[in-house]
Amino acid sequence: MPIDDKKAVEAVEEGKDSPRIQHHLETGGAPLDQVASATSGGSRTLWRDAWYRLSRNKLAVAALVYLAIVGILAVTAPLWATRLFGDPLFVDTTTVMKTRFLAPSLSHPMGTDDFGRDTFARLVYGARISLTVGIVATFISVVLGLIFGAISGYYGGMVDSVVMRLTDVFLAFPYILLAILLISLMGMGLGPVLAAIGILGWTTIARVFRSSILSVKENDYVEAARAMGASDARIMIKHILPNALAPIIVYATMSLGGVILTEAALSFLGVGIQPPTPSWGRMLNEAQGYIVTHPALFIWPGIAIISTVLAFVLLGDGLRDALDVKVNE
Amino acid sequence: MAEDLLVVDDLKMYFYTRDGVVKAVDGVSYTLNSGETLGVVGESGSGKSVTALTIMRLIPEPPGKVVGGDVRFRGESLIAMNDEEIRKIRGNRIAMVFQDPMTSLNPVYRIGRQIAEPLILHKGMSKAEAHARAIELLELVGIPHPKSRVRDYPHQLSGGMRQRVMIAMALANDPDILIADEPTTALDVTIQAQILELMEELQKRMGSAIILITHDLGVVADMADNIMVMYAGRPVEYGTVDELFYEPFHPYTWGLIDSLPEYAVDEKGTLCPIKGQPPSLINVPSGCAFHPRCPFAQDICFTDVPQFLDIKGTHGAACHFAGEDGFTRGEACPVERPATAQAAEGVAS
């Protein structure tokens, strides 16, 4: 076989453990990594390597654990919340005057709110909303971002320009304002919130994916794959996507925090989740009137938001270090 | 007798890192006199650059630390100086030219200003005076149209021109010593020769001593008066340029010479690279640091660190067998040469 073809075949076979991974392995890292590779023997994938590095980052691990706890509480809430703490949504008007604004106690670890509902239970239910919005909206953004980024990066030229101008248009608006407008169109509630935040979040992912594509497009192994007859989509999925995945994962994790903040802001302004569904932002809105008399009402949801968002930020930081990503926007 | 301009005396510079102690410079000694050129040769990680940076005190103190030895400039210890004192030396009496001119110049300042900076700083010139002198210097280093070029930004110049600017900047205050750290490595081959020629010419004109650091023996062959070969932070051979090329003592030096296309003579004309990789400076091999790659290594090389000894006048090496009868480079690649008379018998039979 002539030299070039042989190289091409090698390049394609390398593709599944792409050059980037090889380079990553070669640049090594601490001797401990070398020990790990010596003991694990066989192939070290990028992911196992990254997982190893992540597990050494204490903050990121703590964040992950915290999120797992919150997640479990949130998912299982319907099973135990009402039984232990009373209905977080429903107001029992007969008892409300006696049960409102109770101080923290065993039966109400964080006290009750202005309607006699247990604050802790409401926070947990709020977590359900926040995590749902976070995950679903981010998912929508990622899907949209991948599609637009793919089109833009792969086809280049006029198409690229158009898509880039489109991102500029979206980014020209004040973010919250546009979200509010979109929601006003669609009506309030969970669905519109998910859709609005999701739709607004595609721009950065598209840009990140596009730049990954651009930097990889000219690589040898893509040329080789094309020479062997692979279709565009196949090249995109098998060769470009795995490389581009790392920065997208990092960005998605960090933006999850931002999504939660946005949802809280929208609910606070009254355009997001509607009562009686407890969303953290909603709870803050309701707490506004009681800042003077019962500040606890606005402290707890605030702490919930801060800790959850911070966890995502720290996790994202840790992922970025572990995956050795430099995201330049 | 000329006063020794620069004396490096058993200098030891270690880096204290999370993964261990890096013995970057482990007992280096040499002397430099006015107007001389010393070539310091070695692979990446041999400690040749770190030695130079240590002389200039440019190594950040954590994690680096001078753990032993001294550097004396005109009798005064550079290591013992405080910040203010060493700053008066830098860019003034001892100046440095770095490897990559692309990144070694500040991209947001015009080159004229960058050349003028050491003039204003050390000679107290006014901006106008320094600017005029900068134009002169640009002319000196062979940059055409210096009056207009002086207002250029680094990115507007080619690699070779940038390196000339670096040289102009270093020579601005007429230093006693110019340290050139791989000045040509990042440049095209044709430009390399020009830059080296320029440095030689300027040296003749200005009388400065030069420390020329490189991994390429070919570069020093022309310019150097003396050569020091370094390996794993330690000196392995030192001598005049003739001594080193015609009668090298150390197997590593043989390897370096053999790696030069001009010198690798063997009927088939094949090149003879030194096998293996430079050692980790955290886990330096026991005994002679070169022993894992030395075709002539014996048991003693595993266990005992060879002392650096003068073997013929000031020509010395750090090898247990240096200078022994028959332990010479020969004409062809290492694998065909016996280490000692004994081994020669073994090979012959």
Partner: protein, 326 residues
């Protein structure tokens, strides 16, 4: 460089058109008959409604409506408020100065505190200060801005008043004015701090990481080798390079703040354009919403454009094009 500027300006036009188009589509998609909304609660006879429709050009085909709409905008006519009957332009002129004042105050805080903290943090890496800055910036970035606002209100507006028995406290609502207990600038304090907080955290982080990155550069080593003192190296060489992205960030931030900080303004009842837009949404006063949004977006785009152009001035590599032999 002229090429660069020309390109940027050319990019501006389609983006602005895209913005107007998007908003135009939104106005036509919003449920409800605009004319019926405009006449408010009173029901009108169909004939009058039809006349109104004609007067507003609502019976024209959509593309023509868009052109008319664009024409109006370019002439400075942004519609009329449904609730107050005032031209949107007048409302904007009245409210916008408040937003600008708030934005400027916040930016000043951001510049001083953000750059300062970032520089100190980088210069004294790993020190107590650095750790504090890193922790607090991580925290601030996770904070809901409006929550911080409420927190400040609680501390400085209410508790401080209680602790000092009504002697000393900061106002937490509105912007003051004639007859108010405090001079106008005092009312700026809490909202400005709130608005600046998250951005300052970002600015400090960026400044820190930029400075650290630059400090490791070869040209910094060269500067040291020339005998410059650490201070001189920092301010003359490192900062000049490290500041460029930071300044860009802050300028873009200014642009964002000038778009009306809805959250901060709402929490503090600050009568800026953000608060106005928000109230108008609640009142379904769409002409005000859309009109104000267009102006605000235009300002944002212009500021972005100016930032891009000034970037060309700041970075000689763009100003004088890529390397070339002459």
């Amino acid at each position: 460089m002229l090429q660069y500027i020309a390109r940027r300006v050319l990019q501006f036009i389609p983006v602005f058109l895209g913005v107007t188009l998007l908003l135009f589509v939104l106005t036509r998609v919003i449920p409800g008959d605009p004319v019926a909304m405009m006449s408010g609660q009173r029901t009108q006879s169909p004939v009058i409604l039809q006349q109104m429709r004609h007067a507003y050009g609502l019976d024209l085909p959509l593309p023509q409506q868009y052109v008319k709409y664009l024409g109006d905008i370019l002439r400075g006519d942004f519609g009329t408020s449904i609730t107050t009957g005032r031209p949107v332009r007048d409302i904007f002129v009245e409210k916008y100065p408040y937003t600008v004042r708030l934005a400027l105050a916040a930016i000043i805080i951001e510049i001083i505190v953000g750059i300062g903290a970032g520089v100190i943090s980088a210069v004294k890496q790993y020190s107590f200060w650095d750790v504090m800055v890193t922790l607090s910036t991580s925290l601030l970035v996770s904070l809901p801005v409006f929550w911080l606002g409420m927190l400040l209100q609680m501390f400085f507006g209410i508790w401080l008043k209680q602790w000092t028995h009504g002697q000393f406290y900061l106002p937490m609502s509105g912007a003051g004015g004639p007859g108010a207990p405090f001079p106008s600038w005092v009312y700026l304090i809490l909202p400005a701090i709130t608005l600046a907080s998250v951005s300052t955290a970002y600015a400090a982080r960026i400044q820190r990481s930029q400075l650290l990155e630059v400090s490791g550069s070869d040209y910094i080593r060269t500067a040291r080798a020339k005998g410059l003192s650490d201070t001189a190296v920092l301010w003359r060489h490192s900062m000049k390079n490290a500041l460029i992205p930071v300044v860009t960030f802050i300028a873009l931030d200014l642009g964002a703040m000038m778009s009306g900080a809805i959250l901060t303004e709402t929490v503090f009842n600050w009568p800026g354009i953000g608060y106005t837009i928000f109230l108008s949404i609640n009142k379904r006063d769409w002409p005000v919403v859309i009109g104000a949004t267009i102006i605000v977006t235009f300002v944002f785009l212009v500021i972005n454009l100016l930032v891009d152009i000034s970037y060309a001035f700041l970075d000689p590599r763009i100003r004088y094009g890529s390397s070339q032999e002459r």
